[in-house]
């Protein structure tokens, strides 16, 4: 008799599937790290209640590391990026000595925000638009107009309030809690698992920021499992993917990885490798050239990965021959609590960041980035301005998303329906699968730890 959480879908696991690839996947991909975290329902009030949102704002958001921007947003002294979370706001900047620093975004005079929400740009110093108090890029109070009236004010007491900032893989993280653990400690296994990827050298190709009609946690949860894929993205039809692993790591990391282009062991009549190849070939719309023939003994996955590596290599003028089939094709999604997702794979290169809407727990903001690999020896163009989409706007307005625009719309439709259902459902909470939805439970477990401590 299996204990709760021990059951798995019939057939092979993700790890067993990729072990058959022609190329050796990274060691971390073969790891199993599932843990049963309980099977109680998650109360709907955790999504809908203003008091719960307020509690998160008091006990969670001021104490966790959050991705504020990429280093490429602030390449030179004076470049800055504003990061807003709830009512909190930080300015992240590059100083004259090329250090990255972060400050609370408020003048030390009468509290005026120095920069508007979400702003980015360049300035020689931070100058308050109200009375003209000026701070250096190092945060020091430089100019105090009519200082005869402020004998009680000086750089020692009224310089900008610094907050913690650190970087990993080209991302700039901030933490409003000056007593917080280090970013390295917070990241846990992430740096080790990303050893075989060159994330620091990637740059933003597409950035879309959309307001979503759902609480930030439910928005994240929509991307934490592949259980929804068959219904939401394939109308309930049988298809050749995915085989997924779900893993949880202490304390802040979890992941799923699912195959692209492998045989789904649940299908009664499995497709041939050539049929799989044809499905992959049509994946990105009308592909150029003839669909390759899969040689006897080879797999569609391996043949298609070679095609992708060559075509992306030509597109970016880079060599991807060292990427394994799994690294090239699979949907590899890592989550860093509380609001950061990164896909290090080659053909699905996304980064997600979710933030609550401080005015209404039924809404949230979703930054979606596509990162492209770059040759760090070559000059890079600056990151694009984010395309801002409101609740009703379709992702297909963002050209850079390609065929995924319509897919994100399908996910968004579920979100609005969930928000409505949370409030009418008599049951009181979300019921979760023990294995496929364990990442959702992990998210709530971590939130609980912050709210109760």
């Amino acid at each position: 008799m299996l204990k709760p959480g021990e059951a798995r879908a019939p057939g092979h696991t993700y790890q067993e599937a990729i072990a058959k690839d022609a190329s050796q996947p990274p060691e971390a991909f073969l790891d199993y790290s599932y843990e049963f975290l309980g099977d109680q329902d998650i109360p709907y009030t955790h999504y809908t209640s203003h008091d719960f949102a307020q509690s998160e704002m008091e006990h969670l958001w001021p104490r966790v590391w959050q991705m504020a921007c990429r280093e490429e947003h602030i390449p030179e002294p004076g470049d800055y990026q504003v990061y807003d979370i709830g009512h909190l706001s930080a300015i992240v900047t590059r100083t004259e000595s090329m250090q990255i620093k972060a400050y609370v975004n408020a003048c030390m005079h009468r509290g005026t925000a120095l920069k508007p929400p979400g702003d980015n740009g360049y300035c020689q110093n931070f100058r308050c638009p109200f009375h003209g108090w000026v701070y250096s890029l190092d945060g020091e109070l430089l100019e105090l107009p009519e200082d005869w009236d402020f004998p009680h004010v000086g750089a020692g007491t009224h310089s900008l309030r610094e907050i913690l900032v650190d970087t990993w893989a080209g991302f700039v993280f901030v933490n409003f809690d000056r007593e917080a653990e280090s970013l390295t400690e917070f990241l846990g296994v992430l740096p080790e698992h990303f050893r075989d990827f060159d994330i620091a050298d990637r740059t933003i190709e597409t950035h879309v920021c959309k307001r979503l009609p759902v609480n930030w946690k439910a928005a994240e949860e929509a991307f934490m499992e592949a259980y929804h894929v068959k219904e939401t993205h394939a109308g309930g039809r049988d298809f050749s993917e995915p085989v997924t692993t779900y893993d949880v790591y202490p304390k802040n990391v979890n992941r799923f990885i699912h195959t692209v282009g492998s045989v789904n062991p649940r299908m009664a009549v499995p497709p041939s490798e050539q049929e799989l190849m044809r499905a992959l070939w049509g994946r990105r719309g009308p592909a150029e050239g003839d669909c390759p023939i899969v040689p006897e003994g080879a797999t569609a996955r391996d043949v298609y990965a070679e095609v992708i590596k060559k075509s992306l290599g030509a597109q970016y003028d880079m060599d991807f021959s060292h990427y394994s089939t799994a690294q090239t094709l699979d949907s590899i999604e890592y989550f860093l609590f509380p609001n950061f997702f990164i896909f290090p794979g080659l053909s699905l290169p996304m980064v997600y960041r979710f933030r609550p809407d401080p005015k209404d727990p039924d809404y949230s903001f979703f930054d979606l980035y596509f990162l492209r690999p770059t040759d760090s020896a070559k000059p890079q163009s600056p990151p694009p301005e984010p395309l801002m989409l409101d609740v009703q706007d379709s992702y297909t307005l963002a050209e850079g998303l390609g065929f995924l625009g319509a897919v994100y719309d399908q996910d968004t439709d579920n979100m609005a329906a969930q928000t409505r259902g949370f409030k009418t459902c008599a049951k009181g909470g979300q019921t979760l699968g023990n294995y496929q939805e364990v990442r959702i439970r992990h998210l709530h477990q971590r939130i609980k730890e912050y709210l109760e401590n």
């Binding site: 508007p116 929400p117 702003d119 740009g121 360049y122 300035c123 100058r127 301005e385």
Partner: protein
């Protein structure tokens, strides 16, 4: 009265020039090989824009950092909602015609 058009030499790539012309202070710049002309005055608090950094098609005001889209004149952020005035620039060989009577075609707000 409408000012007459301004004729001038094209600028080297990634350079800029401030020109006084019939009561207007105009900032002409060449960024990445494309010329733009805007009024050299931030609509937020009236500062000259010409020392602002230009990147990615935007100029950042050196005082408080408001960024204006060089094509449309539209500001980013909420320090000001007023677009800066833009002028269409026509290039013929190494000469430019800054059309004072005509806003940049992208800029509907100032037409």
């Amino acid at each position: 009265m409408v000012a007459s058009d301004l004729e001038m030499d094209a600028l080297a790539s990634d350079s800029r020039k401030v020109i006084q012309h019939e009561g207007f202070c105009i900032l002409v710049c060449n960024t990445g090989g494309v010329h733009y002309a805007i009024e050299n005055r931030c609509t937020h608090q009236d500062t000259s824009l010409d020392e602002g950094r230009i990147r990615n098609g935007f100029i950042a005001c050196p005082l408080h950092g408001v960024r204006f889209d060089l094509k449309t004149g539209q500001p980013r952020g909420d320090l000001t909602r007023i677009p800066v005035r833009t002028f269409a620039v026509k290039q013929t060989g190494d000469r430019l015609l800054v059309q004072m009577h005509k806003a940049d075609p992208h800029n509907e707000a100032t037409t």
